[in-house]
């Protein structure tokens, strides 16, 4: 399905995650953040860049990995993206949320 962010139509799944990472832009991330009630600071952008990097390297993301990344601590991560930080940050980064086999 489609959604429009900042006058751009992108493909999203039922939960609002981009299905095509190449369509991601900073403006889209900003609008998504608005919807989540988050105002993006430099710290937020650093985390999103890290997540996108890991995604491009096909590395699975986890709270532990993010805590050890040197970008943020786990507590900081929760402060930046409250209530399900990995789920929300993945959405803003334009990558799929972490998944299991089923």
């Amino acid at each position: 399905m489609n959604k429009t962010f900042a006058d751009v139509v992108v493909d999203v799944n039922e939960e609002g995650y981009l299905t095509d990472f190449s369509q991601w832009t900073k403006e889209i991330a900003s609008e998504m953040a608005d919807e989540e009630g988050i105002e993006l600071t430099d710290e937020h952008w650093n985390v999103l860049a890290y997540l996108q990097d890991q995604y491009k390297n096909e590395t699975a993301l986890s709270i532990r990995k993010i805590g050890k990344s040197g970008i943020v601590s786990i507590k900081e991560f929760y402060t930046l993206f409250p209530n399900g930080p990995l789920k929300i940050a993945s959405k803003l980064a334009g990558i799929p949320k972490p998944k299991s086999c089923i």
């Binding site: 799944n13 786990i74 209530n83 972490p98 998944k99 299991s100 086999c101």
Partner: protein, 400 residues
């Protein structure tokens, strides 16, 4: 792998050695059944010596570290073993010490794992006398081996307590760091009813920070709390500490490995198989089985100076017990999520994909025989290919 390679490599040119510190080999899928007295202890373990092919050396020693620069393994006893080719198959194990408060006097008293023989057996003893309360089935963090086992445990617990006439005395809650019990679209569509049907509550997005055993609760980094009377947890899963000592693993001690060839990214002559790798495949026995066939081919090619085949597609084939004598089967790979269909014969089955059936449960039970008599001995399972087949599957649309 030893069985496969013994049949493939020229006997006069290659000596195969297995280094394994353990005396006992466990049928790990059986650990799910042990707590509920469905399997007995002796059905899930055998002496490792029974499975060593003739002509293969078994060295029962603990490994200190792999010295990749010198192509040597340094043993704990001080000896060193040279190798030309190394296959790392050291698996994954639970590391409860990684979560604050998980270990302590309460370990195997009110907080249990079922991912070890001791954990499963001790939990069995507990469940035999437990009079009810809040049962919390919990996953600490991903990845874990056998990702479906915690859900299976919750399903089997529901049946167990119904059969004992005490289901109304037990509250079952499934707590996971994932965003739901199911994270793939088809599985979510086809299976969500199971939790409602079995009256299992779910707490998703729970990233455990610590266990507060004194107050019988688990607490996540965001401050959320879940109370329990009996906590059955899957602790953090990590590769062997030897991998860390060798300086060749990631932050969870998994070895960086090419996902299609199974050659590690550490050195050309080091390969890896199964749970020890960092492959984006499930950590499951079936995955190791399918990898073995492809890895055997690639070891032969490596020896002959040929290009490795980029063949492994992440194929996994797993039964999921749903209780009351039924199970599901899922068959999937890196690019295709589990979907409905029939297996292994399109249209005929006899096993049904992503759908409960008694036949699937029989398949899961039969699997114990297949494991001890075929898989460990390196025998191919007829009609089941190493890479996933699309025939017999109902895809809504082809993934991009």
């Amino acid at each position: 792998m030893a069985s496969h390679l013994k049949k493939t490599l020229p006997v006069k040119e290659w000596q195969i050695t297995i280094i394994d510190q353990e005396k006992t080999h466990y049928y790990q899928p059986g650990f799910l059944f042990l707590p509920f007295d469905i399997y007995k202890s002796k059905q899930v373990k055998k002496s490792i010596k029974k499975f060593i092919p003739k002509g293969v050396n078994l060295l029962r020693e603990k490994i200190d570290r792999i010295d990749k620069d010198n192509d040597q393994i340094h043993l704990d006893n001080g000896a060193s073993i040279d190798y030309d080719i190394l296959i790392i198959a050291t698996g994954t194990k639970i590391a409860p010490q990684e979560i604050e408060g998980m270990l302590g006097d309460h370990w195997h008293q009110s907080v249990f794992d079922f991912y070890t023989f001791e954990g499963a057996r001790n939990l069995r003893n507990k469940l035999r006398k437990w009079e009810g309360g809040k049962l919390v089935v919990h996953i600490s963090e991903m990845p874990i081996k056998c990702p479906v086992a915690p859900l299976e445990f919750a399903f089997l617990a529901d049946s167990f307590f119904i059969n004992k006439g005490m289901r109304d005395k037990v509250e079952i809650t499934f707590v996971t760091p994932m965003s739901g019990a199911f994270t793939k679209p088809q599985a979510t569509k086809e299976l969500s009813y199971l939790l409602d049907q079995k009256n299992i509550a779910i707490v998703p997005d729970f990233n455990i920070e610590k266990v507060d055993a004194a107050n019988n609760k688990i607490i996540d980094y965001g401050g959320a709390e879940v109370d329990y009377d009996l906590l059955v947890t899957v602790p953090t899963n990590m590769g062997d500490e030897m991998i860390e000592r060798s300086g060749i693993g990631d932050e969870l001690n998994f070895v960086p490995t090419d996902k299609a060839t199974l050659q590690t990214k550490i050195k050309d002559n080091i390969f890896a198989i199964g749970d020890a790798t960092n492959l984006p495949a499930s950590k499951a026995g079936s995955v190791a089985h399918f990898e073995a066939e492809i890895l055997t081919e690639n070891i032969t090619r490596y020896i002959n100076g040929q290009e490795l085949k980029k063949e492994f597609d992440g194929h996994a084939n797993c039964f999921i017990e749903t209780g009351h004598g039924k199970a599901l089967l899922i068959d999937f790979n890196y690019t295709h999520e589990p979907v409905k269909g029939t297996f292994p014969f399109p249209g005929i089955g006899p096993l049904s994909l992503l759908k409960e059936s008694h036949m699937n449960h029989m398949g899961k039970l039969a699997f114990r025989w297949i494991y001890w008599n075929m898989l460990i001995k390196g025998r191919h399972i007829p009609f089941v290919s190493a890479t996933m087949t699309k025939a017999g599957k109902e895809f809504e649309k082809e993934p991009a």
